[in-house]
Symmetry: C2
Subunit: 279 residues, 2 copies
């Protein structure tokens, strides 16, 4: 049984950076927490917990110590609260997300109505949106953008993991909404590149294993695009979920992983697959 691992499987730049910052803080010790899960990987969150780094949903109970800002970022209000409480802040917000937050802030201050292309329920989007000081709208598609009211100057940014096609459709609709449209393309192509590679793999494999948190939107989407090409696609979080029966008659297994999947979990899966292949 041949096992092919996608070149871009696992951590993207921002996740890698955030995880490193969190583990370094854990090594230092002291009262340390992350505000929200540091990345969308229950296993990384669990490992940090074992190292003494707790997980807080908000800052109401914390009066001193160190707070780590997760890769998706937090809202402007949460960051302000941390500053006000004089907590030690380790800001592990992905630099690409930070850029989107800054564009929203400056567009808003310059009098633009802001449109954020993304999923309104996603913490990254909630963080980005919070930096607007004027009107701000979240739209998931060109169709939704078509429902927006007439605006003055329109500023547009995107959730970093959005598809380029979606951004294009929103921009097209917004051209009819105001006299000036200013678009910052804040999409990070790591997601698109990973998906393209996974699709290529799904086309030549008999079975695909997609590894990553069930709460990770990019991993779920990755599994979906593979499944469209290869119904024998399985989304797992850890090696323990692998089932021998999936591999009956399989000669080529493709493996990829979401942006928040640590290498050690990918390695465990590969090892287990090798053992299964020898059975």
């Amino acid at each position: 049984m041949e096992i092919i691992l996608a070149k871009r499987a696992g951590f993207c730049f921002g996740v890698k950076r955030a995880t490193q910052m969190a583990f370094e803080a854990a090594d230092k010790g002291g009262e340390t927490f992350t505000l929200g899960p540091i990345i969308h990987s229950p296993q990384v969150v669990q490992k940090l917990k074992e190292m003494g780094v707790g997980l807080l949903d908000d800052l109401s109970t914390l009066d001193n110590g160190t707070i780590i800002i997760r890769s998706h970022g937090v809202t402007a209000e949460e960051l302000e609260e941390a500053v006000r409480k004089q907590l030690e802040i380790i800001d592990a917000t992905c630099p690409f997300v930070k850029k989107a937050q800054e564009h929203v802030k400056s567009l808003s201050q310059a009098g633009y109505d802001v449109v954020v292309v993304g999923d309104a329920d996603h913490p990254e989007v909630q963080g980005i949106v919070s930096y607007a000081t004027g009107k701000v709208y979240v739209v998931g598609s060109g169709e939704e953008a078509g429902q927006l009211p007439r605006m003055g100057k329109v500023g547009i940014v995107a959730q970093t993991t959005q598809s380029f096609e979606n951004l294009k459709n929103v921009v097209k609709e917004c051209l009819m909404k105001g006299g000036e449209i200013r678009v910052f393309n804040t999409i990070c192509d790591a997601t698109a590149v990973r998906q393209e590679e996974a699709k290529e793999l799904a086309r030549k494999a008999d079975c695909m294993i997609v590894i990553g948190g069930f709460n990770s939107a990019n991993t779920r989407r990755l599994a979906e695009v593979c499944k469209e090409l290869l119904p024998k696609t399985h989304h797992i979080e850890t090696a323990a979920e692998l089932k021998q029966e999936w591999f009956t008659g399989v000669t080529k297994i493709g493996v990829t992983a979401g942006a928040s999947t640590p290498m050690w979990i990918i390695d465990e899966v590969i090892e287990r697959l090798k053992l299964m292949g020898n059975d």
Copy 2:
């Protein structure tokens, strides 16, 4: 024979304003010239000539007197030359065109590479383009925009008579060309509204008469869209070109006119048509 005149036939706001300014200057007398034809109407140019207002292609031969800047605008260099020569300047540039020129200038100064959506040979576009101090490209379609090189910050404006669809297609392509795209929608909807009205008329008439200069792009386009719906469409400049044979069996004539067609020419056509209808 019923004659229906389109509500928006003839002069648009910018042309009306420019013509008025030119005739007022003519009334005042003195050594007065227009730099390029004041509007794309040979009849208006001829009338001004009869009133003593000459037509210059460039300023090389003029050392004093009054120069009238046409509705389409001129290049930044031509305007500078007029200022340097201390000529009296009457700037009849359409305010919408002026806006596009100003946007190009400020985008350029702010470090944007500028894309102008329009016809590179049109004097309006040549004027707009001249205000760029950095890189500037003219594209006629989304397809052409796709050929542009990768840029830094991209600023986009459109020739005022472009179709909105064309602007959208260019913007879509440019989203792939740079990290920031700033679009000023400089399209004046007079052209679109006029075309829509003409199409409506062409659908219910047996014959369409489109009046306007053969050198007027908007009139030519107006005749084209009518002809697509009604092959019995005729583009004329003056009443003298009307032919009785066009109206055999015709019961309903639609009449419209381009943005640079003066009312007196439209009136003459209507009068002649009435006479022909009585034959």
